[in-house]
């Protein structure tokens, strides 16, 4: 032992007693630290591996089709010619329809829950809506097939054709044969599935708007609706937008419910009543049937596209929701 250490450790013998105990404990602390750190790092590993596998397994397809994959309209397994365009189109259209339905509905419900309903009623209803978010996709699909499809075929479809079908421009969306399955039905089912997300996040954001904002508007002689719509909602608009992005990201990745009601036809059609296909749906349907490496590789490439799009959207959504939490309505 050198003389320096003896001065420090002169209080107790090094091999036993309090000092050794502390050393053992610190050792265990480090074990715990290292263990949990390694596990946390494994999440990074898993995610990196995921991206890697997507990249590697789509290499055949990427090499053959390059960027044209994204706008090629043909999906022909027989002649090994694959293009993502019909699926990108279908994914976008169904998601847009779902938002057109879910955003007004969701925002209105969120306003009701944050502005009008007494706190306990609001909490109870929010609880029920959270339950709605927990319903599995395949059950939405089940109800989609046996409830929504007949509804679109017999009631909603004809109603839309007879009203909006005659309006110029928009009318093209509502023409053509209506079998009940198609973009519209998928959009409706998706809309119902994502509305709980919009309500949940928007309600929370609206509840954080300072009371004085609403009171200031009311004190100027605004009606309750005017104060809510012109002052409270704008204050929360960043967070509400974040909820829309979150909902969109969910809608894009939804598989089962969509594939059960969309008709599974890789075609780009103007009418909302036409059957279509989404990225997630085609992967679900054809992955196990894919003969040939190029076919499978094309499907994996579709998965890669979906992954990237949802990644960007989720990132934006989180940013927006965090921005509201921090800065309030100063945007």
């Amino acid at each position: 032992m050198s003389s320096t250490t003896t001065t420090v450790e002169s209080a107790a013998p090094p091999k036993s007693g309090p000092r050794a105990l502390v050393r053992r404990l610190r050792h265990r602390d480090e074990v715990a630290h290292t263990l949990t750190l390694v596990v946390a790092a494994s999440i990074l590993l898993i995610t990196t591996l995921l991206v890697y596998e997507l990249w590697i397994n789509s290499s055949l397809s990427r090499a053959k089709f390059q960027w044209a994959f994204l706008w090629t309209k043909i999906w022909d397994p027989v002649f090994d010619n694959f293009g993502a365009a019909p699926f990108i189109y279908g994914t976008l259209i169904t998601s847009i329809v779902s938002l057109v339905m879910a955003v007004p509905l969701g925002l209105a419900a969120a306003i009701f829950l944050s502005e009008l309903a007494p706190r306990r009623v609001s909490d109870a209803i929010a609880f029920l809506i959270d339950l709605l978010a927990a319903v599995p996709s395949v059950i939405y699909g089940l109800l989609g097939i046996f409830v929504v499809v007949p509804l679109v075929r017999t009631t909603i479809g004809p109603a839309l054709i007879n009203t909006l079908g005659y309006v110029p421009y928009i009318g093209t969306l509502f023409r053509g044969p209506n079998y009940g399955v198609g973009f519209l039905t998928a959009g409706i089912v998706l809309g119902v599935m994502v509305v709980p997300f919009i309500i949940s996040v928007s309600r929370e954001v609206l509840l954080t708007v300072p009371r004085e904002q609403r009171e200031a508007a009311l004190a100027l002689g605004a009606t309750h609706w005017e104060a809510t719509w012109q002052v409270v909602v704008p204050w929360a608009r960043t967070g509400i937008l974040g909820s829309v992005f979150l909902a969109l990201a969910r809608a894009l990745g939804e598989t089962m419910a969509v594939t059960m009601v969309i008709g599974n036809d890789p075609r780009i059609a103007a009418s909302l009543f036409a059957p279509g296909y989404t990225i997630a749906a085609v992967i679900a349907n054809e992955f196990t049937e894919a003969t040939g490496d190029l076919y499978l590789s094309a499907l994996v490439e579709l998965g890669l596209v979906l992954f990237l799009v949802t990644f960007v959207l989720n990132g934006l959504a989180r940013l927006l929701v965090v921005a509201t939490e921090r800065g309030g309505g100063h945007a």
Binding site: D29, V31, A32, H33, T36, L37, V39, A40, A41, I43, L44, T47, L49, L50, L54, A108, A109, I111, F112, E115, I125, F127, I129, D130, L132, A134, V135, P136, S137, V138, I139, Y140, G141, L142, F146, V147, V192, I199, S200, V201, E204, T223, H224, W225, A249, G253, E254, T255, M256, M260, I283, A284, F287, T288, V300, G303, L306, F311, N314, G315
Partner: protein, 284 residues
């Protein structure tokens, strides 16, 4: 002041405010609609056979989904064994040990993983477990579900650990407990209620997942023994039966839906009620 304009403003006020109430009512009624349809159609088809018999060959009526129920249980077990410990330990790291930048990266990646569509996770599990051995397996399905369990568990674990009051921590440390001892004997037990409910919620969530199983565990008309055979699961059976042209299969699909939803809702209801009694609010 313009009296006509005021009248119009008040009318608009009444209309818009009522519409918001209608919207909330509409959304809530969807939940009851789903429940109603499932109870009505599923209740009719639910029988002892459903829980005990194997599926009959295509075209024959009758049979049940006993193998799918067992398959789902096996898959959940795998998912729990693989995903929950990872989620728990990573959550402990983030809440108790994390350095600033690394924690940020881990959290960001966890959120990223959470947002990955489940079908893409299925592709990942396929390439990891199915491709090398060239056959579907229960294990592959378990891996896919296990990966999905991780981000949900990490988030809830971290949340509840952070929720433990600082006074509890300080009390333990003042008595001379080391960091890991404080965590193991004081903090984890204090947060255990919330952490366990978080885990149950994660499992309830993946119990209903279909897409990642389509090409990992695939399906099976019979019992699957061990872990390396393809296995039937409740959601996949539901899907297969629902899109098929047979009335009898539709009947069974409704029954499967009722059972599945029953499990998921009960788990959610139970855990959320337990959570809210603790004062914690769970957001999506």
């Amino acid at each position: 002041m313009n009296r006509l304009r005021l009248g119009w403003r008040k009318a608009l006020n009444a209309i818009m405010l009522s519409l918001t109430g209608v919207a909330a009512l509409a959304v809530v009624s969807v939940l009851f609609l789903i429940l109603g349809y499932l109870i009505w159609n599923g209740g009719k088809s639910l029988s002892w056979d459903f829980f005990t018999k194997l599926p009959k060959p295509v075209g024959e009526t009758g049979g049940g989904m006993a193998n799918a129920i067992l398959g789902s249980l096996k898959l959940l077990l795998l998912a729990a064994v693989m995903g929950l410990p990872v989620g728990l330990l990573a959550g402990v790291y983030l809440a108790e040990f994390g350095g600033k930048t690394f924690s940020f990266v881990v959290r960001y990646t966890t959120d990223l993983l959470n947002g990955v569509p489940s079908i893409v996770i299925g592709i990942f599990a396929y390439s990891l477990v199915v491709l090398p051995v060239k056959h579907f397996s229960t294990l592959a399905g378990g891996v896919a579900l296990g990966i999905m369990v991780i981000p949900i568990t990490v988030r809830s674990t971290e949340e509840f650990l952070r929720g433990v009051p600082g006074t509890l921590r300080e009390g333990a440390m003042a008595l001379g407990a080391s960091k890991w001892k404080t965590i193991a004997t004081v903090i984890l037990p204090a947060a255990s209620g919330g952490i366990i409910t978080g885990m149950l919620l994660a499992l309830a969530r993946v119990a209903g997942e279909t897409a990642p199983l389509l090409f990992t565990a695939f399906s099976n008309r019979y019992w699957s023994s061990g872990w390396s055979q393809p296995a039937a699961s409740l959601p996949v059976m539901l899907y297969t039966y629902a899109i098929a042209p047979y009335e009898d299969w539709h009947r069974q699909a409704w029954a499967a839906g009722l059972v599945l939803l029953g499990i998921v809702l009960l788990a959610n209801l139970g855990t959320r009620l337990a959570l809210s009694r603790r004062g914690a609010v769970r957001s999506i």
